[in-house]
Structures are given as structure tokens and as C-alpha cells.
Amino acid sequence: MSRVLVGVKRVIDYAVKIRVKPDHSGVVTDGVKHSMNPFCEIAVEEAVKLKEKKLIKEVVAVSCGPTQVTETIRTALAMGCDRGIHVEVSGKDYEAMGPLQISKIFAALAKKEEASLIILGKQAIDDDCNQTGQMTAALLDWPQGTFASEVTIDGEKVKVVREIDGGLETIKISMPAVLTADLRLNTPRYATLPNIMKAKKKKIANMKPADLGVDMVSRVEVLRVDEPPTRLAGVKVETVDDLVAKLRANGTI
């Protein structure tokens, strides 16, 4: 019976209106409501369901960031994870943190914890990278089942139904493996009050990237952040010929 690592990222809540900082270095995060990345919620739900089916033994929730991310880990514990790991990253390192650094951390943790599965959300709603799962698998040389809309464990193998552009693709991969959760994989549960109480007693271990031998230096530098251009009003036309003429006139065709 196995151990699963689940990644949970603290992001700005999906319902919040995002504002760009006046100096265009990023978005305003101070005092803004944050919550668990929705795809991470789906990943946690899948891991907890596997544990309830007794297919895996232990679910460990992992998050990287400053002290505030422990709230996100606690939410994962309240959903049913057994324990948490908080990898402390703050200041400039945190601002520059991206999929490459995270995947290195997860790869190191997977070896340390002897995990058989890593389940992540397919992407985070703040950077929309969609890279961490793939990179983690590559660093570990593990098979990957990304964009999972259905996961079935069959002995030492995992059957994954993936959502792809053309429809659904079913693959069978061997464990240990990395899975990334897509929207239709499941419907995350609400944290129940008794589980919130139980989460209080569950342990969250603290460590730094250096403890895992991970170098947080980023090769990517954000030069500038801008709001998307305001949507201009459209123009109604009467006929198809008018439409073609207008498109020609503004250089679209």
C-alpha cells in the first residue's frame, strides 16, 4: 500500500477582481482573498477518495511558500489528507518561484517520502503554466497521466482517461507516476466541521528547499505585467459582403 503526495497551491481566489500593481511588477496580493487553487482541490479530493477506497495508505499535502500557505495545507488536511509538508520559501525567492523550482522540490520529496503517486492540479489559475506535473515526471523519469478526467488503480498500474483536444485518450501507466487533475475528474468535498477539528491535530512538517538540495534560482525574470487591453466595442454589419470588406479594410484578411 502506498503513499501519495498532493500539491496544493495558495492562489488569489478565483472570484477576486485582479488588479495590476502601479509599478507593473506584478498583481496586488496584499489584503486580497486567497484560497486553494481549484485544480489542487480536485487533486486532493482524488487522493482522499483513493485512500477511502483503501487503494493507498497515506496522503501527504505539500505546499511551497511563506507562512500563509499553511492555511492551504490545513484546508487539505480538513478535506482528509493525513499530514502536511510546508516547504518555506519567502521574499524574492517566492516571487520568482515557478514550475521548475516546484518540480525539483516535488521530485526530491517524492524520493524522500518514497511516494508511489504524485497528484497535482493540471495548472494554477494565477500563472496558468500547466508545467509542474510534466516537469516533475521528467525529473523523476516517471510516467505521467496529465489532464486526468478519470483515474483507476489496477495493481501496480494506473489507468488514466485524459482530456485531449480530440476527445478522450485512455492510457495505462506503471506506478510510481505523476497525475495531474483536470476539471471533470471529481467534485471536491466541503471540509466537514469534525474534519476541521481533526485537522488541528494533524502534523505539518517544516523544511526549506536547501534541506532537499534544491536551488531556487530562477532562470526567468518578469519584466512587466499589464492588464489585458480593454475590449473595444464591436461593429454590427448588415451583410456578409460588408463583413468581408471591413475585415479586408482593417488588415485581418
Binding site: 484560497s35 492555511e71 490545513r74 484546508t75 480538513a78 466541503y190 471540509a191 466537514t192 466541521l193 469534525p194 476541521i196 477539528m197 485537522a199 488541528k200
Partner: protein, 408 residues
Amino acid sequence: MNNIAALFKARKALGLCVSGCRSLSSLAELPEMHQMMRQTCRDYADRELGPIAGKLDKEHLFPGQQVRELGAMGVMAVEVPEELGGAGMDYLAYSLAVEEISRGCGSTGCVVSVNNSLYIGPILKFGTQKQKEQWITPFTTGEKVGCFALSEPGNGSDAGAASTLARQEGEEWVLNGTKAWITNSWDASATVIFATTDKSLKHKGISAFLVPMPHPGLSLGKKEDKLGIRATSTANLILEDCRIPLGNMLGPRGSGFKIAMQTLDSGRIGIASQALGIAQAALDCAADYAHKRTAFGNPIGKLQAIQFKLADMAVAVESARLLTWKAAMLKDAKKPFTKEAAMAKLAASEAATFCGHQSIQVLGGMGYVTDMPAERHYRDARITEIYEGTSEIQRLVIAGQLLKEYAP
């Protein structure tokens, strides 16, 4: 020495928490567990209750599925210990839960509050272990809800004048009489009911009983057609030689009035929380509209008339909320909380009716139609000034406590 004694007496007179209860600084930031609990209830209310609240109200539908889901989350039995099937949390957590649920749907908040405070509350406090297992545990999951039958057609505020009678016949109690305005009646599987066992002892001759529903000898009157909280059922309970085992008496004989009053004390915090949720929903609606609706060339939120209304609404809600939290924290610290609970219920219910009213005013014509929820908040708010002790009774309770503190 005299100065210190006088200072202490003065502090007590001002009702300040002397020691032991959570300090006021924690009112500003709740403990982490409470924040998480509040968030999960808010998420549930936003996603599952908000979208259907209008339909539940229009069609008078009891939110059975939602009650079961809330039961699974532990919200139907917040204070009940885990061994009995509850969430094992404190009254502050319960108050937060009711407020968030009521913000999504005032009726559902009412069902949660009645089940927790009025039905489970007295059994938890006065029941035997066997009674707790029989009458509480099945009511923690949301599969069954309970109700509380004190009021009668002849007496509401005048609770000491209960005319429902209970006489002993062998190994049974036989109940006769009518109870009025019973919330949850048509959806309940049991009731805590009050009847006179010794008429000569006046209010000291009232006892509390547990009656399953349905039960021979207990029938329900017609469902009242109410102004608000229409997803809850309200009806008379009619008892005609309703027979129950002797073991169904709750607490000692003659302690019914005391049980009722103590239950209502706590219940007040629940209703205050429900009123807060409704008030907050009304404020949310108005503030959102103020950003979107334009008049005289700008969003109406730029007009001082609207700003003053929103500010007044926010102050009313926030001050009532702090009163409610204080009452809950005093109760959790096992300190006297009767006065604070009455103040909370009074302030919160008046805040709810005020916010409901002003919210419609901010929305103008849109506030008067069912397309927007403002009219439903206005109607839902109104009952909070009436049930579980009218605003007038609350004032009497508060004055009574105050005068005791200032007694020479």
C-alpha cells in the same frame, strides 16, 4: 482596599468580562479553526444555497437535500460532542455557521438554528445519556430534524401560562392541548414540548417532554402561509390524548419553564446569527447594485445618499455581529450571558429589518420585484424581531439584568 473593591464592583456593573473568556482582541481575528469553518459554510452557502434560495421561497420547498448535506458537514449538530455524532465545536463556531448559511438562504438558516439550539440544545443540557443517544444522535446527520413546541394560541410571550396539560396514567404521560407557530413542524421527526403537570404551581408546574413525530394523538394543523422564511413549515401541533412513556420526560418534573427559558437564552444567539446573515445578504445586494446601477451619469454608489445608507447598514450589521460573538464567547466560557444574548438578538433582528428595508430603497424599483433577492431578505428579516422572544421581551430581559447590576 476600598478603592479596589469599588473598582471591581464598577467593572462588574459595566458587565465587563472579568477574566477567563477570550479577549476582545480576538473578536477582530477569529481563531484559525473558526475561520476555516466559516469559510466552508460560506462556500456551501454561496454554491449550493444562493442559487436555489429564490425557488425554495417561491415554492415553499423544505430544503431536504441541503439539510442532509449540511448534516454530513456537521452543521446540524455543531455543539454536540463527537461521541454523539456532532461536530464537537463551540457556540461561537455555531453562530458563524448559522450566519453564513442564513446569508445564502434565510429559511435554511432557520432550520439549522431550530435543530441545533431549540431541539438538540435542551436535550444536550437536561437529557439523560440514554435520551441523548435516542433523541440527539439520529438528528445530527440531517436525515431528521426536530422542533420546539412552547407557544400556544393563547400565549406566546406569556410562556408561563401554558394551558397544554400532561397527566400521568400508569406508565404513561397523556398530553392534551394545542401548540402554535411551531417551526419545522411538518418536516420534524420529534419535538421538545412543554405541558403543565401541576396547574397549582403555575409556571413551576410546567414540564418538558420528548415526543416522536408522527405519533398517535399528535396531529398537525394547516401550514401557515407566511410573509417570509417560506421554505420552513410553521403549523399548530394538536395533542389529543397523546400517550408517551414516562421516560420521555426531559429533566425533572416542574423544571419545564426553566428549561424553556435557558433554551431560549441560547436560541437567541442562533436567531441573532440568522438575522446577521440576512442583514449581510441585504447589504451585499445593495452594495453590489450601487457599483453597477448608473444614474445622473455615474454609478449610484458615488451619491452621498446611497453612501450614507450603506454606511448605516454596515455599522448596524457589524455592531450586532460583535454583540453576537461576545454573547457566544461568554456562553463558551460558561459565564452568564443572558443580557448579552438578548442584546445580540435585539440588535441583530433590528439590523436585519433595517438592512432589508434600506436594501430595497437602494435598489429602487428593482428592489420591489422578485428578480432581485432584496425583497426576499426584507420578508425573511421580519420574523427575527418576533420569534424566540419579541424585541419587546428582549428589552424587558435586558432592563431586568441591567437593573439587577445597578441595584443599591
